[in-house]
């Protein structure tokens, strides 16, 4: 049940090794944990952070793509992009609802995004310079998101797993529409093909960074794996993504911007060059090309909508009072 009203959060519950052992046994037995079940505070905190940041990413992800809705090259592309951006908003809402079941309010979560206290995926701090970027985002960014999200459908926390199932069903449309844009450009005029290649050059490495730091540097992996919030490591997922994507690029005659890229016949995997983790850290730290612009735009929309939220609540309150007064009159 997605009800925050029913979640009584025990204030600073003391650690309880016995309950924790029972909890871990349930996880090991692949039982789903539901909102009102006992859970260690660290599990709750980890999930709130992860689900909220995932939700923020969906919401901020609407901005780079929304930028192209009015400039899509045809009515068909425009309708598809509009539907995709609407889906991203929907995904953000499913995820916020899942986080709320852990005893945090929507308003608190939104405030954490707007103040910059919680992060969103670093990929959305890159600009969308041409129409081909919209193709690449669907193909690579949504493709990478699918790799990350499919294992989350089996995550130990029930509401998160259920939200992910809905999201994964919809992401498939996103990836296919993006790849179709790339196919069309790659088979178009030399200028169009060059535009597709340029977009791939700019987005390839940031897309690989979406899987997070290498396994050796990842702070949260061990606990997250033990709690079955995570089922594959960052590097495993990154490799899967590269293996799936390289042939798709070759199929449409595009070149992956990595001169170290080679296919290893023995392992059956594509081996790729070193990722520039300094760039990743810099973008996470707030210094990417668009960090400030994204947060500014999100804050401006939130502030501009304040009167709508207030008016809706005031109207609901007025209706409630009138109805109550009407009932009194009828009773007399």
């Amino acid at each position: 049940m997605y009800t925050q009203a029913l979640n009584t959060r025990e204030a600073a519950a003391p650690e309880d090794p016995e309950r924790e052992a029972r909890f871990q046994a349930r996880i090991d037995a692949e039982e789903k944990i539901e909102p009102n079940d006992w859970m260690p505070e660290a599990y709750r905190r980890t999930l709130i952070r992860q689900i909220a940041q995932h939700a923020h990413s969906e919401i901020v992800g609407m901005l780079p793509e929304g930028n192209w809705i009015t400039r899509a090259p045809s009515l068909k592309r425009k309708a598809a992009l509009l539907a995709k951006v609407q889906d991203e908003g929907g995904h953000g809402l499913y995820l916020y609802a899942a986080a709320e079941t852990l005893g945090v309010s929507r308003e608190e979560l939104v405030a954490l995004l707007l103040s910059g206290k919680q992060k969103y995926s670093s990929i959305f701090n890159y600009p969308t310079l041409t129409w081909a970027d919209i193709g690449v985002i669907g193909w690579l960014v949504d493709g990478a998101a699918i790799m990350n999200q499919i294992p989350l459908c089996r995550c130990s926390y029930g509401p998160y797993a259920r939200a992910m199932i809905r999201i994964c069903k919809e992401e498939s449309f996103h990836q296919r529409q993006g790849y179709e844009i790339m196919v069309t450009l790659a088979r178009g005029t030399p200028e169009q093909k060059a535009m597709a290649q340029d977009a791939l050059n700019r987005w390839w490495w940031p897309a690989l960074m979406m899987f997070g730091p290498p396994d050796g540097d990842s702070q949260h992996t061990d606990t997250a794996m033990r709690w079955r919030i995570k089922r594959f490591t960052n590097d495993e997922l990154r490799q899967k993504f590269v293996d799936a994507t390289v042939p798709q690029a070759h199929h449409i005659g595009l070149t992956i911007p990595d001169d170290k890229l080679t296919f290893n016949d023995t392992t059956g995997h594509w081996e790729f060059g070193a990722i520039d983790w300094a760039e990743f850290k810099n973008v996470i730290a707030g210094n990417g090309p668009c960090n400030k612009q994204r947060l500014k735009q999100r804050n401006a929309s939130h502030d501009a909508g304040a009167w709508v939220r207030e008016a809706a609540l005031a109207y609901a309150e007025k209706r409630r009072r009138r109805e109550a007064a009407g009932r009194l009159v009828a009773a007399e």
Binding site: M1, Y2, T3, Q4, A5, L6, E34, N36, D37, W38, A83, Q86, D87, G90, L93, Y94, A97, E100, S105, R106, E107, R162, A163, E170, A306, R309, E310, A312, L313, Y315, A316, R319
Partner: protein, 95 residues
């Protein structure tokens, strides 16, 4: 700024005729009309439903999972409620 939190509503959708409404998630909305519209936009973008119900989350009374043992014990201890508890001669055939 809004000080008051916008109320939470649980959303139930009937996917096909003949099926029961099923819980699919929740939305925030100031009133029931807007909750219905939000539920339509968030949960039925691809023909998932024929009918939507919304219920204020605060109106739901739920059992406590930590007391599920006591709550459901009566259902576990009465095996005579199941058809397999009763012996029927084989030559009677299917019953």
């Amino acid at each position: 700024m809004t000080d008051k939190n916008t109320p939470l509503w649980e959303v139930f959708i009937r996917t096909r005729n003949g099926m029961a409404h099923r819980h699919v998630g929740s939305v925030h909305a100031a009133d029931a009309t807007m909750a219905l519209q939000n539920a339509r936009d968030v949960y039925t973008r691809r023909g998932e439903g024929l009918s939507v119900w919304v219920v204020r989350s605060s109106e739901i009374t739920a059992s406590d999972p930590s007391e599920k043992g006591m709550m459901f014990e009566p259902a576990d201890s009465k095996i005579y409620r199941h058809p397999t508890f009763y012996d029927v001669p084989d030559d009677v055939g299917h019953m």
